[in-house]
């Protein structure tokens, strides 16, 4: 995208990648694709390609990290060196450490941590290709991986962002909009329980715009939630169909 382009949205309200303001990027979800992980999921959210693997509950290693009264959830968000145009150092960056924490905290409310004290659940998120909104896509995939591993959950966690681009509030920002736009509001959400587990904002929004952005992101979440459920069920439907 040309840096000098000052219009991210044309007169007809069409965005740089041809979407309308309230349109999501195409999402493809797949569950159970890694055989060595207890649970796994793969998401393609626009040009984002992300793998998530979940393990556990199992004994915590190192042991001193175990909590006597609850299960510990650990997350690692990692971007592959080839996930961005310029090579990214494979060592965890400040941003990755922060996102690991953010993903962990947005998934924790969905788990029954008190049921399996002294154990740990590990979630590994590997970004193969990034194009804006990876934290949201990562949360969506990580929740699916945990559900696939058989760890009981209150609800699937699904995430989607909204933001402001050229004075318009739009949903699901991609890389260029994220970098050149005015604001970005990622929201993680448990649709059945109507509970928000992550709400961040980067940029400046008027209160009215903020409210609109949150609502749009939640609408986006609900759409992805349906795909999430579908993806999880598909894994078990396949066997059923073969039989019929």
């Amino acid at each position: 995208m040309n840096e000098k382009t000052d219009k991210l949205i044309d007169k007809k309200g069409i965005r740089l990648d041809g979407r309308k303001a309230d349109e999501l990027r195409p999402v493809k979800l797949q569950v159970g694709i890694l055989s060595h992980a207890d649970g796994s999921a793969y998401i393609e959210h626009g040009k984002n390609k992300i793998l998530a693997a979940a393990f556990g509950p199992r004994e915590m290693h190192p042991k001193h990290l175990a909590q006597p009264d609850r299960m510990v959830l650990r997350c690692r968000y990692h971007m592959a060196p080839f996930s961005v145009p310029e090579r990214k150092s494979p060592a965890p960056s400040r941003r990755e450490i922060e996102l690991s924490k953010v993903i962990k905290e947005s998934l924790e409310p969905a788990l029954f941590l008190e049921l399996y004290p002294r154990t740990g659940v590990d979630v590994f998120v590997e970004v193969l290709q990034a194009d804006g909104g990876t934290r949201c896509a990562a949360i969506t995939a990580a929740a699916l991986a945990i559900a696939d591993s058989g760890v009981p959950m209150r609800d699937l966690v699904v995430a989607c962002a909204a933001g402001k681009v050229d004075d318009t509030v739009v949903v699901d920002l991609f890389d260029a909009e994220d970098k050149l736009g005015a604001a970005d509001v990622p929201v993680a959400y448990m649709p059945s329980l109507n509970a928000v587990t992550l709400l961040q904002m980067d940029g400046i929004l008027k209160p009215v715009e903020f409210e609109k952005a949150v609502n749009m992101a939640m609408e986006g979440c609900k759409k992805i939630y349906e795909m999430q459920k579908e993806a999880l069920k598909t894994k078990y439907m396949v066997v059923k169909e073969v039989e019929e």
């Binding site: 509950p57 004994e59 399996y116 004290p117 002294r118 058989g150 009981p152 959950m153 059945s192 999880l232």
Partner: protein, 244 residues
Amino acid sequence: MEKETGDFMPTFFEKKQLVTPGELLAEGDYLPGENSYIENGKIYASRIGLVDSDNKKVNVVALRAFYVPKMGDIIIGTVVEVGFNGWTVNIEAPYTALLRASDVLSRPFKPQNDELSAVLNAGDLIVAKIASYDRAHDPQLTVGEPGLGKITRGQILKVIPTKIPRIIGRKGSMISMIKQETNCQIILGLNGVILVTGKTAEEEEIAIGAIRKIEEESHTSGLTDRITQLLKETKPVKVEETQQ
């Protein structure tokens, strides 16, 4: 999908419907059973599985789960470590189990007289019973009953623990059929580890094949017939081979 059964189900699911974590199952005068939980008077699923209800209890038969120790369960475990006065055993659960030396030796145990690794060594497989377990302490095992102890021959396979009841079948119909058709001894560990001991490796393979098929297709109907067919089909083939 399902025919009208007599029971009254003012709920949000059909019998044997596939549900995902967070799916609303029932509202009002109901109780959460297996793999479901209640929040604000509403019952939700906490694992992917098939819903069912008996009376006022809403159950989800999980398609993915892990083994949680229960007192009195017969399990199959692997010795992972020989300690000073006992063994550490991997029982395919979130916690590792302990087997005390005094339990195995059935006489007063003196560390200076007895070499524990001569009795059971790391890597040995044992059939054991959970003697005690609560969430604050690791489970303790016992082998002081007939049929329990070190495994010396046979083949081991692992299945998802929730499939064990399906492998047993109604009043043990499925497992006794497999035992009869293949002349194999089968011990089902409730932790999802199964020991198959037959006179020949071929017989063991047939039994394992049948169990694998049950595991894969446990949530489909008419399984017993297909397993009977599978066992009947594989048997004649084997006879022909031996004749040639």
